[in-house]
Amino acid sequence: MKVLVPVKRVLDYNVKPRVKADGTGVDLANVKMSMNPFDEIAIEEAVRLKEKGAATEIVVVTIGVAKAETDVLLTARAMGADRGILIQTDDEIEPLAVAKLLAKVAEEEQPGLIILGKQAIDDDSNQTGQMLAALLGWAQGTFASKVEIAGDRVHVTREIDGGLETVDLKLPAIVTTDLRLNEPRYATLPNIMKAKTKPVAKKTVADYGVDVTPRLKTLKVVEPAKRQAGIKVGSVDELVEKLKGMGVA
């Protein structure tokens, strides 16, 4: 079974996002960009499926700027993906259009499983996997904390509001990763060197004949209202007083 893993290049999670003064967005010039953390979990899961013999080949795909090849596709191959696809564009592509492009890739590649992150930590949309499932007419196991292949089915344990839920899905299927699915391995330097010999196919959005015209227009981006730091109390007694004052104790 082939596994397809879409990965996104995002602002590194350790970097504090800064809103541009002109209100057009978040400043991404000269800041560290990395693979979306949920996508590292997705690759790790694919690699583990391959190590267990449940998967035969891992293909990673990213839609983004040319630098995504070195920022994310290389890391993905160093972690264990077999080959990459870069769909190059300088435009911001919305989840619906990303899903349409990925659906085309899925038609070409015929994977048995597609593993995505549950959300990208920049736009926090939490949409792409579910949209892709709808477009392909496949089952979806979102927010996965456990994935088990059983013949032509996959069992997915999902993190839901009240606890955990397990669903049984027909393959091919979509899985989106939650934080507790696994702990991704590091891409070691020797593996990064070796990964450079693994192939990357370079494509453009036009190659897929998908209309990626945005449906949403960002009118402005502002910083949220800032909270002011309050006071420090010197003792538990003082804290008890304050809590009583608020009527909660």
Partner: protein
């Protein structure tokens, strides 16, 4: 505009997340509801009481019992022939189903809206709430998920909606429910609690987490939350996680115990009315947002606090 609101329920009662979603929908126009589930006549009756609602569409079928997206999304899509917008609470059910509906309608979803600025314009958080974007859609139909803490709750009673059955769209045969582990708790739900006590990595073990955090929460009638580090370490269950990638909460009082205040954690609780932090490091980032800080060792301060309340 005619809107459809997804009623969040457990086949027995209507969940509070529905009420804030109704408030958001009312800003767009007429509010109709969809109750999909199994054996949901009591839920439908209750939903019809919500202030300001019109029709309550009820789809009662075994295929909807567990809200599997593969079965539920086509039902919603069908109802969108006669509605202009569908709004889901941004719960795990809403987040699972809404994008499947959006893609089927060829619509770009608006996730986790914070406000309605106009019939096609909304604000939503990006970058873990470090930025707020105002976005305008050009789509003809709207598919929206609503952040519960950003809208007041509609009154649960006083309405007089009319209940109307809709034909089920059936089981698509793609997915089946196997089982669930839902922890029964006497405590209030995290997302609707007035007071929350959250524990972090500093608690050190599952035993200590429960020995310190639970009694304090009991004294305050609070729900219990946790940081990702505490959940990853197994001190607390997954669904306790507060933050960018966990639950978004905004209680009257949020007590953070042994939590450093990483941006991903703050994203989930910084809209709380009052934040109380207990941390031994006086430079911990949590103190930059805390209204009341107490510096010291939680292993002595928390038992003392519980004792004195």
């Amino acid at each position: 505009m005619k809107t459809l609101v997804w009623v969040e329920h457990d086949n027995q009662s209507v969940k509070d997340a529905t009420l804030s979603t109704v408030t958001a929908a009312a800003k767009l126009g007429e509010v109709h509801l969809l109750v999909a589930g199994k054996g949901v006549s009591a839920v439908a009756e209750a939903a019809a009481q919500i202030a300001g609602v019109g029709k309550v569409h009820v789809a009662d079928d075994a295929a909807y019992e567990h809200f599997l997206a593969e079965n539920v999304a086509p039902l919603v899509v069908q109802l969108m022939d006669s509605h202009d917008a569908v709004l889901f609470p941004a719960t795990t059910t809403g987040k699972n189903v809404a994008p499947r509906v959006a893609a089927a309608l060829d619509v770009m979803q608006l996730s986790d809206i914070l406000s309605v600025e106009g019939p096609d314009t909304f604000t939503r958080p990006i970058y873990a709430g470090n930025a707020i974007a105002t976005v305008q859609t050009s789509d003809k139909k709207l598919v929206i998920t609503v952040r519960g803490t950003a809208f007041d709750k509609a009154a649960a009673t006083g309405g007089s909606g009319t209940v109307e059955a809709v034909a089920a769209a059936g089981d698509k045969g793609l997915s089946a429910f196997v089982g669930a582990e839902i922890a029964a708790s006497e405590r209030p739900e995290l997302t609707s609690a007035k007071v929350i006590v959250s524990g972090g990595r500093a608690l050190g073990s599952q035993e200590q987490f429960h020995a310190l955090i639970d009694p304090l929460a009991d004294k305050l009638g609070a729900a219990v939350g946790a940081s990702r580090a505490a959940v990853d370490a197994g001190y607390a269950p997954n669904d306790y996680q507060v933050g960018q990638t966990g639950k978004i909460v905004a209680p009257m009082v949020y007590v953070a115990v042994g939590i450093s205040g990483a941006i991903q954690h703050l994203a989930g609780m910084k809209d709380s009315k009052t934040i109380v932090a207990i941390n031994k490091d006086e430079d911990a980032p949590i103190f930059q947002v805390a209204d009341i800080g107490l510096v010291g060792d939680l292993f002595t301060l928390v038992p003392e606090l519980t004792e004195k309340l």
